[in-house]
Amino acid sequence: MESVLRLLADHGPAFGQALLLTWKLTALSFVAGFALGIVVAVASLLPLRPLRFVLIGYVEVFRNIPSVALLIFIVFALPDLQVVIDYEPSVILTLSLVCSAFTADYLRTGINTVAGGQVDAARSLGMSPMVIISSIVLPQALRSVVQPMTSLLIALMLSTALASQVPLPGRELTALVAKIANDSAAGISAFALAAAMYLASGLLIAWAGATLDRKVRILR
């Protein structure tokens, strides 16, 4: 117990900053990834075969590529193509791309749950496809995927650990405890503290997601 207290005394502020950085990376990546995922999901509804082909390819690539491999490509290989992205934006870009692929995938499932009859009725009322998508299909699809999106957000937060693999100016949780474990003997307590922080954040997100789901869920 006193080792944890000593740890907090020595590194307390660092842990706080690390937690904030973790949350910041998570939030930014999720917002960008979510938005991009919606665009991809909607665009894949358009009746253009080559377009759908490319979008399916996009989703398959970013679902199957390991995030670390993608991050290393963006940080170390892209500059050879004269695209130099700073480290923190690189992490956010990596996580956003991966998040967008999973979002598009879940949204597709959500879109499929919208009753076909509604779309038929809307068409017979003379609504154009784009209006139907934006006012009928998408809102219901979004409401039905709150649960998998919550899991995705938690997974995204845990994935921010890969930011420890590039020389970020700040340290997020995993990088911080790895450094503490390397430099001192406080390894176990440091990891326990980080684990507790991740767990608490995850539980918070899960609770928020469950509440949201209960409110907007469509009972069929």
Binding site: F76, P79, D80, A178
Partner: protein, 300 residues
């Protein structure tokens, strides 16, 4: 139509489409001379091994577990075509393997980085670490060092068109790369405290960061920088003379191991009979255009 044919055809097509001068790898390492040198290295007598716990353990296991790097051009680089690792560090470890086991190739290799070098010794994943490993008091608390087997100072590498940085004194406010876990961060803290330091896991990554413009300068071991220049691409230049304290490279061994005395005896032997000097010439001298064989550092 085999895959090989398709690949070759693609390459030919690209070769026709593009046109570039033949890539200069710098002077390549004389593999035949290297292999020959390792093959005629000394072998310890049975008594010397039996009286040493560390060496007997290796002899009984039949393999030496080595922690090193495969991606360092001068010191230890894996040639994936013949599966052999060659370089100054690689040569020393193979000579030591031959010294204990009679055959320089009976080692099991584990890739280590600046962050994992101490831990693999603490975890007993390897018997020794030979990877441009600087001896520092902080590290000596966790593990033991044999040697030193080489010394070098720090140097500053910048891009050829960089006139702003003439030496380590001009690094204030500049983004400077260095290797994580090396003596680079400490040296920068002492000699260029206002530099903005970025730490990389490997030499190659730091070099690429300099080339790609992510950093303005790269501070690391002077010998490594000489090798970059020897690649002859003209993209980089040294800023100023070598500076800082003499960086002593040692061989990492588990804490308190009696292997320290054994390895030191080995080092003294190959320094005395000229093998050290010949290894230096083949792996470093001929490739960086230096002809003065340095005197090996004194071993306490």
């Amino acid at each position: 139509m085999s895959i090989r044919f398709v690949l070759k055809a693609t390459v030919v097509a690209l070769a026709v489409a593009g046109s570039a001068p033949l890539f200069a790898q710098g002077t390549p390492l004389n593999a035949a001379a290297f292999d020959a040198l390792v093959a005629q290295g000394p072998v310890a007598d049975a008594a010397a091994i039996a009286s040493n716990k560390w060496a007997s353990k290796i002899k009984q296991a039949g393999t030496l577990r080595l922690g090193g790097t495969q991606t360092s051009n001068l010191f230890s680089l894996l040639n994936e075509k013949d599966g052999k690792i060659r370089g100054f560090d690689a040569g020393l470890s193979q000579l030591l393997t031959r010294y204990i086991l009679g055959d320089g190739s009976r080692y099991k290799f584990t890739q280590v980085t600046s962050s994992t070098r101490e831990q693999v010794l603490i975890n007993d994943q390897v018997d020794m670490v030979l990877a441009t490993y600087s001896i520092t008091p902080a590290r000596a608390e966790k593990i033991s060092f044999a040697g030193p087997y080489y010394t070098s100072q720090a140097g500053v590498l910048v891009k050829s068109n960089n006139k702003a940085i003439q030496s380590h004194n001009d690094l204030a406010g500049k983004k400077t790369a260095t290797q994580a876990g090396s003596t680079g961060p400490a040296i920068l803290a002492q000699f260029a405290p206002k530099a903005v330091v970025q730490e990389f896991q490997t030499h190659q990554e730091a070099l690429d960061a300099l080339r790609q413009g992510r950093v303005d300068a790269y501070v690391t071991d002077y010998t490594l920088l000489l090798n970059v220049l020897s690649l002859g691409t003209g993209e980089a230049q040294l800023a100023g003379a070598p500076f800082g304290p003499q960086d002593a490279y040692g061989i990492g061994l588990p804490k308190g191991s009696d292997g320290v005395a054994f390895v030191n005896a080995f080092l003294k032997k190959i320094e005395a009979d000229g093998t050290w000097g010949k290894l230096w010439t083949i792996t470093i001298g001929q490739r960086t255009g230096s002809t003065n064989v340095p005197t090996p550092p004194a071993i306490p």
